[in-house]
């Protein structure tokens, strides 16, 4: 019965240009059931209000043959009890249905040992540290495997939102928050930032990649740059994955931050009027303590980016390689 209601609600929603996203987590179908229940309760009451309004206006509108109201009571306790009690009963029903599903949305499903991923939000990219030490700008998951995300933020509040999982959780600086779920459908799903965080809030996206099985996930976890990769290749990967790309272009167009193109060795003008030579020391400082020296014409918005030594060497080499 409730499934039928979901179907009908789906059809109605599909009739509009918008549509509920795919259902790719174990809780998504039950969330949509609660949605359908609420949809029908609301549709009934809206129809009641609108049709009574129209009916009364048509029947009782003032016209030459009908200038005065008909006598009718101005209060009726039975009616008042009726239209207090019915909403009260419905409120209890909605609360019960929704809270039951909410518990499912916040508790790990029993099953295999959960996949634990550390999530870091920062202006304006996400970073996912998977077990076995593999970090990426994509969230990799295994279909059917319960997952626990621990979220943190290095600057302001962000919110990890995966519409296909029907889940959302704020990442709050100074706290760790948790999000648990079990992905069900292999595929790639958009991740969005739902808490306003500044200039590039609307492009602070990532994807969740749900592997069909553990073996496929393991294979991905082993991938990486060949041990013999050059520093420039390492740097290029760091640039793309650790969020530099969100603000620094490599083609000379200034973004939120200065472009990397041709800055190596240049004398940069700073906000205070001083200048600084763009060398390894300056680049390292700008990554560890971005606020120390601000290039003239730009705002102090960059969060510190923790990098491993090889990654640090890589990004320096990469910027060096972008010299004209």
């Amino acid at each position: 019965m409730s499934l039928l209601a979901v179907r009908i609600a789906d059809v109605l929603l599909a009739a509009g240009p918008g549509y509920l996203p795919e259902r790719a987590s174990s809780v998504a179908p039950s969330v949509d059931h609660v949605f359908a229940f609420l949809f029908w309760v609301s549709a009934f009451f809206l129809a009641l209000i609108v049709s009574l309004t129209i009916l009364f206006v048509v029947r009782y509108r003032s016209r030459p043959s009908r200038r005065d109201p008909e006598p009718s009571p101005s209060h009726d306790n039975r009616l008042e009890i009726l239209w207090s009690a019915i909403p009260l009963v419905l409120v209890f029903a909605i609360f019960a249905a929704s809270t039951k599903v909410y518990y499912a949305m916040t508790e790990l499903e029993p099953g295999d040992s959960p996949l634990r991923v550390q999530v870091t939000g920062r202006k304006w990219s996400w970073w996912f540290d998977h077990p076995s030490g593999k970090g990426a700008n994509q969230l990799h998951l295994v279909a059917g495997r319960p997952t626990e995300l621990v979220l943190a933020s290095t600057d302001v509040i962000h919110s990890l939102y995966v519409p296909a999982f029907r889940l959302k959780q704020d990442a709050v600086p100074g706290r760790f928050t948790k999000m648990v779920f079990t992905p069900t459908q292999p595929g790639t799903y958009p991740i969005l930032c739902a808490e306003y965080c500044g200039t590039n809030h609307s492009t602070m996206g990532a994807v969740a990649v749900v592997h069909p099985d553990q073996a496929s996930f393991d294979e991905w976890a082993k991938e990486g740059l060949a041990p013999g990769a050059s520093l420039v290749e390492v740097g290029q990967q760091v640039y793309a994955e650790k969020g530099c790309v969100a603000c620094h272009s490599v083609d000379g167009t200034p973004g939120v931050g200065p472009s990397f193109k041709g800055i190596w060795g240049k004398e940069e003008k700073l906000a205070g009027g001083n200048t600084v030579k763009v060398d390894e020391a300056y680049i390292r400082e700008s990554i560890v303590a971005p606020a120390a020296k601000i290039t003239a014409g730009f705002d102090n918005v960059m969060p510190p980016i923790p990098l491993e030594e090889r990654e640090m060497q890589g990004i320096v080499a990469y910027i060096q390689s972008l010299k004209d």
Binding site: L20, V50, L52, R61, S62, R67, E80, Y102, Q169, A194
Partner: protein, 555 residues
């Protein structure tokens, strides 16, 4: 100048409040609640226009998924100022301070509010707050969102803008508290002889409930913005994690005010609906006592639901569950009001003039606004919908569809009383219909965008949402056109409108027994209280003379 009015022989006709004293000073330093109300009205309408211009920039920017009209930073400043100006300078003060100031003393049958000097102070605080908001624009704008969440809002790179905005909110908040104090004192102490609590027009019950919220909730806003101010300057370590503070604490403080503030906005709107639906159905309001008590119930429950704004902030599961239940309870007093309004129309003689058309559209739009609130009060559906366009659509259905439309209903309803002129009924009706259509075209698509997963406060968006956004922008143009026609109709009536009789609608509450526009002292003879919805004995004479009581009472 004042003594001239005071020496008039009781019962002799007096000059209208508009002519009592001339020149700018006689307005700016007036203690007359009616002139203060008119000054509020001017500022509030200017704020509405300003907020509306910001809104149109947002809507045109969103015509294309990649934006294109303005930069991301400018977009962020525009939605911040759109929200801040609309909420703090239009929706919160709109009905209580502008219409309430004018109508409250007239409805209780008094000469003025209980504390006229405090009333003037309240106006000046509000004006100062508004000036600081404009100053924020001048120093480069503010891109924090109207909710000013730290750490983003208090980052050390921020300059004067945030400090000006916090001070502006602080001053506007004080103005709101003083207005609440004044209305509560006026309703308690200055009711006409013979006017018991259950003889109060329901607009007054609504403003009384509003006053309670203003007095108890607004100080928390004042303290919060003061702490934010000090945190920014002296790094106290209250809200900012880098100094040892907690940003979620700010959210609790902020919503402890700002959720009840939703009821500061909507309760007066419901008060107007109660007045208009009864007068234009020519029938006593149905279930008076239930409507009155449900206002108080909404005020009380409204204090206990703020946590639903933090369902995904990481607060404890139990806290979420309790807040969810309390939030859903608001549905009950809202349902009571709605069904009592509908029952009032039953077997009435419904007159479809402009105020009633606005109220009819309020029923549908506020119905959607209230019912979609269930989706956001219920945890399972709130979590995916939180901070998406579903929320944007929901609160615009309540704030614009509820408050703005009720404000326009009230403004048209009391316009003859305030100005002594009748507005053009054709323009009024056209505006009501256009606003209804434009509003729905603007905001219904946003529900679908939210369901499809489009987060709010996005300067750019996924291509799949483009059609919805274009409908929304087209709707905003129609809505603007409706508002322009409404404003034009009212302003034009000041020159061309027919002279309004004392009682053009056949209403029974006391303000309609004063002249239109009222004299400086409101009533020539102190009136006695009477039942506000008892229309027996009212007789329509003509368009020019309006309605009179057969007994000649209160004429």
């Amino acid at each position: 100048m004042h003594s001239g009015g005071d020496l008039t022989v009781p019962g002799a006709p007096q000059e209208s409040y508009l002519k009592h004293g001339r020149g700018l000073r006689s307005w700016l330093f007036t203690l007359d609640h009616k002139r203060i109300g008119i000054m509020y009205l001017v500022l509030i309408v200017v704020s509405l226009i300003l907020g509306g211009v910001f809104a149109m920039v947002l809507r045109f920017h969103l015509w294309n998924p990649s934006g294109g009209l303005v930069s991301n930073d400018t977009y962020n400043k525009m939605f911040t100022l759109h929200g801040a100006v609309m909420i703090f300078l239009f929706v919160i003060p709109g009905i209580p301070s502008a219409l309430g100031n004018f109508i409250v003393p007239l409805q209780v049958g008094a000469k003025d509010v209980a504390f006229p000097r405090v009333n003037l102070l309240s106006f000046w605080l509000f004006a100062a707050g508004a000036v600081l908001f404009i100053a924020t624009l001048v120093v480069g704008g503010l891109d924090t969102g109207w909710t000013i969440y730290p750490p983003y809002s208090l980052e050390s790179s921020r300059g004067l803008g945030i400090l000006l905005a916090l001070t502006g909110v602080f001053l506007a908040g004080f103005s709101s508290i003083l207005t609440g104090v004044n209305f509560i004192a006026t309703i308690h102490r200055m009711r006409a002889p013979g006017m018991g609590w259950f003889d109060l027009p329901l607009f007054l019950w609504a403003l009384y409930a509003t006053g309670i919220i203003q007095i108890f909730a607004t100080p928390v806003l004042g303290i919060t913005v003061a702490l934010g101010f000090l945190e920014r300057l002296f790094h106290l370590g209250i809200f900012m994690p880098e100094y040892g503070g907690d940003p979620v604490l700010f959210q609790h403080f902020f919503w402890f005010y700002s959720h009840p503030a939703v009821y500061i906005m909507i309760l007066p709107a419901m008060g107007i609906v109660s007045e208009v639906v009864s007068v234009f159905s020519r029938k006593p309001i149905f279930g008076y006592r239930f409507i009155a008590r449900s206002s108080i119930a909404i005020a009380v429950i409204g204090f206990l639901v703020w946590g639903h704004h933090m369902f995904v902030s990481g607060q404890s599961k139990w806290v979420n569950v309790i807040f969810s239940f309390l939030t859903l309870l608001v549905a009950i007093p809202s349902a009571i009001k709605t069904f009592n309004w509908l029952a009032t129309m039953y077997k009435g003689a419904i007159v479809l003039k402009t105020p009633m058309l606005y109220v009819l559209s309020f029923f549908g739009i506020f119905g959607v606004g209230g019912l979609t609130g269930l989706f956001l009060g219920a945890l399972a559906t709130d979590i995916p919908l939180h901070d998406t366009y579903f929320v944007v659509a929901h609160f615009h259905f309540v704030m614009v569809g509820g408050v703005l439309i009720a404000f326009l209903a009230g403004l048209h309803y009391w316009w003859p009383k305030m100005t002594g002129r009748m507005y053009d009924e054709r323009l009024g009706r056209a505006s009501a219909i256009l606003i209804f259509l434009g509003f729905n075209l603007t905001f219904i698509p946003q529900f679908f965008a939210g369901l499809a997963g489009m987060p709010r406060r996005y300067a750019t968006y996924a291509v799949e949402h483009q059609a919805l956004n274009r409908f929304s922008t087209a709707g905003a143009v129609v809505l603007t056109l409706g508002l322009v026609i409404a404003l034009w109709g009212l302003v034009a009536s000041l020159r061309r409108g027919a002279r309004a009789p004392a009682n053009p609608w056949g209403a029974a509450s006391l303000e309609w027994s004063a002249a239109s526009p009222p004299a400086h002292d409101n009533f020539a003879i102190a009136p006695r209280g009477r039942k506000p919805y008892d229309f027996t004995g009212l007789r329509r004479v003509s368009d020019e003379a309006g309605w009179v009581h057969a007994e000649g009472e209160g004429a």
